[in-house]
């Protein structure tokens, strides 16, 4: 591979052009992190305990407490992830192993297209179609369960949009992404491994469970983290369907909010301290996203080492 830092080429204008672009990109990324942190500093310096506390969010004077958003983000994205992984894994397996070859490529293309559908469209569908349907049909049924009040919350607070609905729509939204990547990594598991396990008398499910999924696990981790990252960072879909109430919510049919969607809904009216508090929420979101990316990189490299020389 040509090494551009070698002595003979280091002085060419082309090298400097590439370097300039790299420096620009480096500057943009430093600015990206630095600028948001800088604007959030007043909040971190003076109100950091309030920000991660559950004191509620009082515009425009404060206090600005972010616990409701943090909890809401975790609740919605984790439930969405469970939905997407459980359903998505089965779907990806079915696409690779059970549907006819001719149909397979069409379905795969279709799933990839759905993965590209903008999140606002999922949000719109959740807000205008699912929310009224939940309110009229599903919510009364869920509230007729035993211990409904403990699980789902007080029916008088419910009006359609809820953390639960947001989680479902997020789950449906990240499903195509998860399926598209999982399908790809499952389909590259070498055929001779599958044939070898069949030749040992394994059943179809044993082949999938004991050989295919373990062999594909690096890619499946990647798909899971990407799906989780999309769910935690989703803004407008959640803003439309979570209900937008800044209160720590353990009852899932009650309205709540998330970090990203709270920034989006409050930013328009915000002034002074509130802008800084929203920037501080942004820093929290950034931390969440960066640590997810760090953990996934660590897991993937660890797995790679285990699978070295395959």
């Amino acid at each position: 591979m040509a090494e551009f830092s070698s002595a003979t080429t280091s002085r060419s204008w082309y090298h400097y052009l590439l370097l300039t672009a790299c420096v620009l990109f480096g500057a943009v990324s430093v600015g990206f992190v630095g600028s948001i942190i800088q604007k959030s500093l007043p909040t971190w310096l003076h109100h950091s305990t309030t920000l991660i506390g559950g004191g509620g969010w009082q515009s425009p004077s404060g206090p600005f407490g972010g616990l409701a958003m943090i909890v809401g983000t975790l609740e919605t994205s984790l439930i969405a992830l469970v939905i997407a992984v459980v359903i998505g894994l089965g779907t990806a397996i079915s696409i690779v192993f059970f549907i006819p070859r001719r149909l397979r490529n069409i379905v795969a293309t279709f799933v990839e297209l759905l993965a590209a559908v903008p999140s606002i469209v999922y949000g719109l569908w959740g807000f205008l179609v699912l929310a009224p349907f939940m309110y009229s049909t599903i919510d009364p049924w869920l509230n007729s369960w035993p211990f409904a009040r403990e699980i789902w919350g007080d029916p008088s607070q419910q009006y359609g949009p809820s953390l639960f609905l947001a989680a479902i729509v997020l789950g449906v939204m990240i499903l195509p992404t998860f399926v598209a990547i999982s399908r790809e990594v499952i389909s590259v598991v070498p055929d001779d491994l599958i044939e070898a396990s069949l030749s040992l008398g394994a059943t179809r499910w044993q082949v999938i469970r004991k050989v295919v999924l373990p062999t594909a696990r690096i890619g499946l981790f990647g798909a899971t983290f990407l799906a989780l990252a999309r769910a935690t960072g989703e803004t407008v879909a959640v803003a439309l369907i979570a209900g937008g109430v800044a209160k720590v919510q353990w009852h899932m049919l009650n309205p709540g909010t998330s970090i990203a969607s709270w920034i989006a809904t409050e930013f328009g009216e915000a002034q002074g301290n509130e802008v800084s508090a929203l920037m501080a929420l942004g820093v929290l979101l950034m931390l969440l996203s960066f640590s997810l990316s760090l953990v996934s990189r660590w897991l993937v490299s660890r797995q790679r080492k285990l699978l070295a020389r395959v």
Binding site: C22, P176, I208, L292
Partner: protein, 310 residues
Amino acid sequence: MNDLTELDEPIEIAQTMRDEIRRVSNATRARRLMVSRVMTTLCAVTLAVTAVPLALLLYQLIKRGAPELTWTFFTKVPETPSLIAPNATGGLSNAILGSIALNVYASILAIPIGVLVGVYLAESMNKFAATLRVIAQTMAGAPSILMGLFAFSFLLQDLHIGFSAIAGSFALAVLMLPVIIIATEIAVLNVPNTLREAGLALGAKPHKVSMRVVIPSALTGIVTGCILAISRAIGETAPVLLVIGGGYLNTWKPLSPVSALPLSIYENAKSEWPSQRAQVWGAALLLVIFVFILSLTARIWASRKQKVSN
């Protein structure tokens, strides 16, 4: 005699072992096949569970969206319905124009830098490149609302640019950069080394080889990556939400406030007028059509590349 017993023993052990293996295998076979059947059926069920909501979403999108895509929709600016004219919504030409302008500016900002950085990453193996690669991968997973916060903090608060198309384009460009960088790096790395070596063997300087041989060979991969980056950016609401200002005018001037399709969907979905809520389905359908065309173009482009290189 001694020799005989020594020979006999292992064979006898093997015989009891074979019997034991066959016995357990036969005794558990029915159960194992049943488990396999149940689990594979469950996989097929998850495929249906995936298909139903997504099919429903597409069906409703087309059914409600298609009637909205009228001549007025594409050519008129929005109006506010009133009691006298509750259906007078006008069109969304401002949002269509705004979306196009935002993405053209964002592409102009992001593509040159992204491609150059990607080429550098692919052809350099130093610490600087490794750091930039990690940054690009981390930024690729960052929530898009953060790009909006960055653009607000840097352009609006620090540089006092004001709500404008260019501020939105800046946020979208930051979003597109890592996508383009990663795609370019992969495309360049996929260029066979023999091509490079052939160029170098002819006495060409490394930077000439890079420009005249490597980049042209990687071009289809680079273009595919750029198209995918645009298709992601065009549907994003969160980054532009905070900084483009909105507005009812048909304009593409970089420094004036503009609207965008995703933003109109987000705003008008909450409208009190049924006619405006209906109109957003048209915008959503148009957006999905845009994204599908871009994704399909990228796929066709990528498969054409494979045919050429085979």
